[in-house]
């Protein structure tokens, strides 16, 4: 018995029609390389079209920080809330209030497990939000903290989480000034979910934003990538892997201040969380409509992170960090920027990993250690769910 399921929603019909059109125009008879280029152009146009969410239900892919997340954000949230302050879709919104320029950000933390080598959900909740403010060029000042607790969650564990938040806030020089507590029935909230929102003061001149990247700019990462994501994955205990890796969760405001003092012309900074460095590179390429070329050799990765990634078939470029930033700086300032980062304990292994260029706008390319070139695209989903 055969069932003919025909997925013929509009977009398939469109694609076929486009192809047929090209055939009637005789353009499919061109030499091979030209035909391939035609297809690449067609794909480029398709990628630039207005995003639409095709699924009827939310899936884990939508939470991964990759393509599905971006599509959901653009098609559902941006579409509904649209305003000039939201559109840049940076880590923090930059607002003018009274005479002051402030940054506002929010993040929710649903990491599983709650406790892991290098910290716990409380550390992430403070550092993550501090970092989103810092990379917006703001001095982080105040945080809110909303808790959703599962019925049956041990109070001792809650105390541990909150103590970690207290210590992290002190280290970052911020205060938790307001909050909320809710409790839901057993079976929901997986122990504890936290949302933090943060407010910071933008005291420096000059706007920061990934859309400002220009050909010739250097791309710098502040240290080895992938530590946090791999730590979480191993801490889940399902994989029976032991390794000496711990989360890199840390507040980056000191590191950022040092960088901005040395290189006021920094174009953009992002903290590399969900989706990893690869996601940020794609955000740069797309926002500024530029090409990005990075060098595999130049990207710092700890040996154990590499080993665990190879074992599981994951690319460290997509693995979350929680204490690393990616900075885009004018090409001639690259050395000074790296020196400034390396002067800070959190930036000891900072390195230039690549350049922005005009060719192939919107596309991130990697020069492999082997010498060939390949694309680094956004992943659709994430092999490591519930990372932060």
């Amino acid at each position: 018995m055969t069932v003919d399921h025909d997925h013929q929603p509009g977009w398939i019909g469109e694609a076929l029609a486009e192809h047929d059109q090209l055939e009637t125009e005789g353009r499919t008879q061109l030499p091979l390389a030209d035909r391939e280029q035609q297809v690449l152009d067609r794909i480029d146009r398709a990628r630039r079209r207005r995003p639409r969410v095709r699924e009827e239900r939310v899936t884990m892919s939508h939470g991964s920080g990759g393509k599905a997340t971006h599509t959901l954000i653009e098609a559902i949230f941006l579409d509904a809330f649209r305003n000039p302050l939201l559109e840049p879709l940076e880590d923090a919104a930059q607002l003018a209030v009274g005479g002051a320029r402030i940054a506002l950000t929010t993040d929710s933390y649903v990491v599983s497990p709650l406790f892991f080598p290098g910290g716990n959900i409380g550390d992430l909740a403070v550092n993550g939000t501090v970092n989103d403010l810092s990379v917006a060029g703001a001095r982080p000042l105040y945080l809110s903290a909303g808790f959703i607790l599962e019925e049956g969650f041990p109070v001792a564990d809650l105390a541990r989480v909150v103590e970690a938040m207290r210590d992290a806030a002190a280290a970052a020089g911020v205060q938790v000034v307001t909050g909320d507590t809710k409790v839901v029935q057993k079976g929901k909230a997986d122990g504890c979910y936290i949302n933090t929102a943060g407010v910071g003061l933008i005291e420096r001149d000059g706007a920061l934003g990934v859309a400002r990247a220009r050909p010739g700019d250097a791309i710098i990462v502040s240290g080895p990538i992938g530590d946090h994501g791999i730590t979480i994955m191993l801490a889940r205990g399902e994989l029976d892997i032991e390794a000496d890796i711990c989360s890199d969760t840390a507040p980056l405001n000191g590191l950022v201040a040092g960088l901005l003092d040395a290189v006021p012309g920094v174009r953009a900074m992002r903290d590399a969380t969900r989706g990893g460095v690869a996601t940020i590179l794609n955000e740069i390429a797309k926002a500024a409509d530029v090409g990005v070329l990075v060098s595999e050799d130049a990207i710092p990765v700890r040996a154990e992170v590499r080993g665990a990634s190879e074992l599981l078939g994951i690319d460290p470029m997509y693995v979350a960090c929680e204490g690393r930033l990616v900075a885009v700086v004018p090409g001639e300032e690259a050395d000074r920027a790296v020196a400034a980062l390396r002067a800070h304990p959190l930036g000891e292994q900072a390195a230039v990993i690549g350049r922005v260029r005009a060719e192939q706008p919107g596309i991130v390319q990697l020069k492999t250690a082997f010498g060939g070139t390949r694309i680094v695209d956004l992943l659709v989903g994430d092999p490591l769910p519930r990372i932060c």
Binding site: H5, A33, V58, E238, G307, F370, G371, T373, D377, P383
Partner: protein
């Protein structure tokens, strides 16, 4: 990383590339097929095509065990997972493969419990921890992975684990290669032979390709230098008019294969009379099923599996891509309607699928190394 980094050395790559180019007869075009999806992945991931002269084209073969699973079997798996008290375990590769009503991820959103595992043994752990549930392992893969499923079943049997079973979708590589060789659409000059499948079946099974079809075969490793060296070895054979089976991956592949592994497969599984392959149609004796002796662990016997044959969507040209007749970008819906985010077929969603490899890694204006060399000197 030992046994990995040495085989990713760029200097040696340039040397090999020069040798390969030197062996190309002027005016002649060469088409070499890499059978294994893992090889396709490596080729694109390391930008290997940059090292090859224009006259050599790499044709991507059907060696992607996820890609060849027909939609109906995905639906069957989801049906199994939807039974009460069933936990299905699956490799990550399968989670986004589209069935007619959605993928495993979509099914989880609707309420099934399909969990990603790294090893089939993880399913046993889950079974032990959940004695009131039925744990069904979605077994996929060529002969590389079948021994692991077999060993897991033997272990479950030894432990007397009552709540573990296997939904067996293992396929075998030789019938697929034979289907390619017999296909009138394709004229290939040689084969980059499967690497890890060969650790299990050895190199002898490929002898018919050299002997009966006159095409050279080189069993290749997975690092970029392995593949380049294998291409070099193929070109040497072609330039000398030889057709033999050679083993470039000798550090891992024993000529005779792995007897323990073959015995384990033979003990627990047997060949199905026929099996449907996406794109290649029904092929006889090309897939494995659980033996009667282990019926208690055969999900197809324990549960009623609908077994509905679902035709691929009309727009899907996975079959031709799998046979190497079409390059990924030649498929009508490649990159527009069919993308990793909105896959229509399996080639786009499996990490080893040719379309996924090309879309994720290779989709750019190509720089031939020759141009780069000219620029350097």
């Amino acid at each position: 990383m030992r046994f990995v980094d040495e085989f990713r050395d760029a200097e040696k790559a340039h040397a090999l590339a020069a040798k390969i180019a030197a062996l190309c007869e002027p005016g002649r075009q060469y088409k070499l097929m890499e059978v294994c999806g893992g090889h396709t992945h490596t080729i694109y991931k390391h930008g290997l095509e940059d090292y090859l002269p224009e006259s050599i084209t790499l044709v991507h073969g059907p060696g992607c065990p996820v890609c060849v699973i027909p939609m109906g079997r995905v639906d069957d798996a989801i049906h199994l997972a939807s039974q009460p008290d069933v936990i299905m375990t699956s490799f990550g590769d399968m989670m986004r493969v589209p069935g007619s009503g959605g993928s495993f991820f979509d099914a989880n959103a609707e309420g099934t419990n399909i969990r990603m595992v790294y090893s089939p043994l993880d399913s046993l752990k889950i079974a032990r921890q959940n004695p009131d549930k039925q744990v069904v392992f979605m077994a996929i893969g060529f002969e590389t992975t079948a021994p692991s499923t077999a060993m897991t079943m033997l272990r479950a049997a030894a432990e007397g684990l009552p709540n573990f079973s296997v939904f067996c979708n293992h396929v075998t590589i030789i019938p697929a290669i034979k289907a390619i060789l017999d296909s009138p659409d394709l004229r290939l000059d040689g084969f980059i032979g499967p690497g890890h499948v060969s650790t299990v079946i050895g190199c002898r099974p490929y002898e018919f390709i050299a002997r009966d079809y006159g095409k050279p075969v080189v069993v290749a490793g997975f690092e970029p230098l392995d593949i380049l060296q294998s291409i070099y070895m193929l070109m040497v054979q072609l330039s000398q008019g030889r057709s033999e089976v050679e083993n470039q991956y000798a550090r891992v592949v024993p000529w005779d294969g792995n007897l323990v592994a073959l015995r384990a497969i033979g003990e627990t599984m047997e060949l199905r009379p026929y099996f449907e392959w996406r794109g290649l149609g029904f092929i006889s004796h090309s897939a494995l099923q659980v033996r009667e002796k282990y019926a208690a662990m055969d999900a197809e016997r324990l549960f009623q599996v609908p077994g509905v044959r679902v035709a691929d969507p009309k727009a899907c040209q996975c079959g031709e891509v799998l046979k190497g007749v079409l390059k990924p970008w030649e498929c009508k819906v490649f990159g527009t309607a069919c993308t990793p985010e909105t896959p229509i077929g399996t080639c786009m969603v499996s990490p080893e699928g040719a379309c996924a490899a090309y879309y994720n890694f290779g989709r750019m204006n190509r720089n031939r190394v020759a141009e780069a060399e000219v620029a350097r000197s």
